[in-house]
Symmetry: C2
Subunit: 214 residues, 2 copies
């Protein structure tokens, strides 16, 4: 498989982490989203939404949406349960992550460093409050269990870990959330855990055409 | 099964639509989110994120996140493919819907009618632009195929239909997107299609404690 990857994207990092943990060999194609690499016609044919990562499984066989990629790759492994209810709970957290984690902690991290927002702007404040609300939901859930779903470490944990473990880069203070912090440590203690998520380049500027939403 | 439901939520409507199309009998518990029905301790135990819908499968067996509920219910039916790649493509659109459709068309519809935003506010304008970008992605994808994934009607179509078919209620003009419009008609032509999505009550006001994000 081939992964079209951006080093500072936690959506990409989560796929790199899963590939490492499943010991799946892959070819990485490194993109620079700030240099227009996702705005080419060739990239648009692979992913009209122009987001990273994209997983290439063969000619004209591309998969987008980081959490769909996680579920695809984890099929048949311990990281995606077979049981119908357990599998639905994993999916629940994959969806929660895109709906509540990415636009708060992910979107804020991106917008602060690219200068789209400054701390204190109304939208930054809205996202910060949403981040705290989201961490509160995670903290309450994790106060009663070791991992997010199915009583074990799954792709749900990988997905939610990706942006939440860098909440501080979004200016969010995660220290009050102690059950959440203990879960971060459990995730980091899993076999073959690795972290190669890079920071955004300083003063990165966003080219016209890069998604206005998110 | 029992569905905790809010009549004007398209996240709830998509589950009602699937249940009707699969001819699954269920008990509906109607909630009024503006009257605090999702802010009770009992509801919080079912869903700490306090969103609707919630599917109850048994005592202490609750499933949240509308698209996780769709995937759970459709398992084994024609509406969720068995093939690993096709299934991943369905999941891709379920995730896209929560990441790009709900916060734009869904969030804007909710915020305009509840007075959280007025047309022309910067956040309303950002969401409207995001809605148009999202409709553009859908339109381009649907210009080359009949349904979103797996060459057939699936829960991906149900999920994306839910908020996009009421884009006008969010002040979004969907008329330029002709392939999208043709797809709406194909979805509406499916056996047992029904639409009981209600408008939000006029001048509904949001109680403290109802999610600040989304």
């Amino acid at each position: 498989v081939r992964l079209y990857d951006y080093a500072a994207s936690a959506n990409c990092y989560k796929v790199r982490l899963l590939l490492a943990q499943l010991e799946i060999p892959y070819e990485k194609v490194s993109l620079d989203i700030f240099d227009g690499d996702t705005l080419t016609d060739a990239f648009g044919r692979m992913n009209p939404a122009r987001t990273t990562p994209v997983l290439e499984l063969g000619p004209d066989r591309h998969l987008t949406e980081s959490n769909a990629i996680l579920a695809y790759l984890a099929e048949g492994s311990d990281l995606l349960p077979e049981d119908r209810f357990d599998r639905a709970q994993v999916l629940r957290w994959l969806l929660f992550e895109q709906a509540d984690v990415v636009p708060t902690m992910g979107g804020l991290r991106f917008r602060l460093v690219t200068g789209r927002l400054s701390a204190g702007d109304p939208d930054a404040e809205r996202r910060r409050a949403g981040a705290e609300e989201t961490l509160g939901v995670l903290d309450a859930h994790l106060s009663e269990r070791e991992f997010l779903a199915a009583d074990r470490y799954t792709v749900a944990d990988i997905a939610v870990y990706a942006y939440t473990h860098v909440a501080h880069e979004a200016g969010v203070d995660a220290s009050p959330y102690t059950a959440f912090a203990a879960w971060l440590a459990r995730v980091e203690g899993r076999p073959r855990h690795m972290n190669d998520l890079e920071p955004y380049p300083p003063n990165a500027s966003v080219k016209a055409g890069l998604s206005v939403y998110g």
